[in-house]
């Protein structure tokens, strides 16, 4: 372990203390909020008003500026939960379980948004709200995976056991996600004529993809902001029997 830089090692040890996390991240929250608002604001206004309309889809393509960030966060959220799961099982870091518990409903919300925006986008593009194509079906299955983790956590009473059970489920799930996506994709190519190819779009001009990038970054920061806020609360809840939390509750407005 000597090749790990001292700074990282110290950070790792600090993360073993939920209290450290709470006290350190307090000052981050407003900055994250401002940065996220700025990026999303600029990206959205640019994408809605200034980007040129798409040759094939007209103005409905502007839904991309929220659909792509949502779909990305849906996937990334689940992967984050799996990483937390590994950290929890291998190193028994309590903070990892707190993050995992916070990410689940937030990731599920973005998955739902990806489904909804995908379906709404489908109507002007293909004429129907719901079409069983590979992508939307995979996102739907991802939503089920999220709901499963949330259901399992709720069903097990002891938080430590619930955390470890969800960790196992998240790891099993994350390994299965690419398998599920490939198999669903393959099934769709067997059963649908290849007219529904939405993937190979011509290269987007900068005036179209820059706002997309801005929104992706902005939504990532928004996600980080919510996860940090939620984890801070989770820290308070789980450590409520400690002196520092009791003091904090007395002082807090």
């Amino acid at each position: 372990m000597n090749y790990i830089p001292e700074g990282l090692r110290r950070l790792w040890h600090r993360m073993g203390s939920p209290r450290w996390f709470y006290e350190t991240t307090g000052s981050w929250v407003p900055w994250l909020g401002v940065a996220a608002a700025l990026l999303i604001g600029v990206g959205t206004v640019w994408g809605l008003a200034y980007a040129p309309p798409d040759y094939l889809q007209g103005n409905s393509f502007r839904i991309i500026y929220i659909h792509v960030p949502a779909a990305y966060l849906a996937q990334a959220g689940y992967m984050l939960m799996a990483v937390c799961g590994v950290v929890l099982l291998v190193w028994r870091m309590k903070l990892a379980d707190m993050v995992m518990a916070t990410v689940a409903p937030i990731g599920a919300a973005f998955t739902f948004l990806a489904l909804v925006t995908g379906a709404i986008w489908g109507k002007p593009t293909w004429g129907t709200y719901w079409i069983w194509d590979a992508r939307i079906t995979s996102v739907l299955i991802l939503l089920f995976l999220y709901l499963g983790i949330m259901g399992l956590r709720r069903a097990i009473e002891r938080p430590e056991a619930a955390g470890r059970a969800c960790a196992i489920l998240a790891i099993v799930g994350v390994i299965n996600i690419p398998i599920i996506q490939y198999s669903v994709d393959w099934w769709m190519t067997l059963h649908q004529p290849a007219t529904f190819t939405i993937t190979e779009a011509p290269a987007m001009p900068a005036s179209m993809w820059i706002p997309l990038l801005l929104n992706v970054l902005g939504f990532n920061l928004l996600f980080a902001l919510s996860v940090i806020q939620g984890t801070r609360t989770e820290v308070l809840v789980r450590e409520r029997r400690t002196r520092w939390v009791t003091e904090l509750c007395r002082q807090e407005r």
């Binding site: 959205t44 809605l48 008003a49 200034y50 980007a51 040129p52 309309p53 007209g58 103005n59 409905s60 502007r62 839904i63 929220i66 659909h67 949502a70 916070t102 409903p105 937030i106 919300a109 973005f110 739902f112 948004l113 909804v116 925006t117 709404i120 986008w121 109507k123 002007p124 928004l222 996600f223 902001l225 919510s226 806020q229 939620g230 801070r232 609360t233 308070l236 809840v237 409520r240 029997r241 400690t242 002196r243 939390v245 009791t246 509750c249 007395r250 807090e252």
Partner: protein, 71 residues
């Protein structure tokens, strides 16, 4: 500007319903994602403060103090 007037912007070339419905849904989800942790935090603080005040009033140890003396 890709649109010549606000009316055009709103209409989105006939796709206005879809675009605005999507952005509205996003606003709802973003609001949820921001408000939910804050609401949980407020609820926890409220309940915990209640427990502490009750313990103080009864002259009893709060959970933390009991926990510390057990440890």
């Amino acid at each position: 500007m890709s649109f010549d007037s606000f009316a055009e912007f709103f209409a989105m070339g006939g796709h206005g319903f879809y675009v605005w419905l999507s952005y509205l849904s996003t606003a709802v989800v973003v609001a949820f994602v921001l408000v939910w942790p804050l609401w949980r935090r407020r609820r926890f603080l409220r309940e915990q403060r209640g427990r502490i005040h009750r313990a103080d009033a009864l002259g009893q140890q709060t959970e933390a103090e009991a926990h510390a003396s057990e440890a």
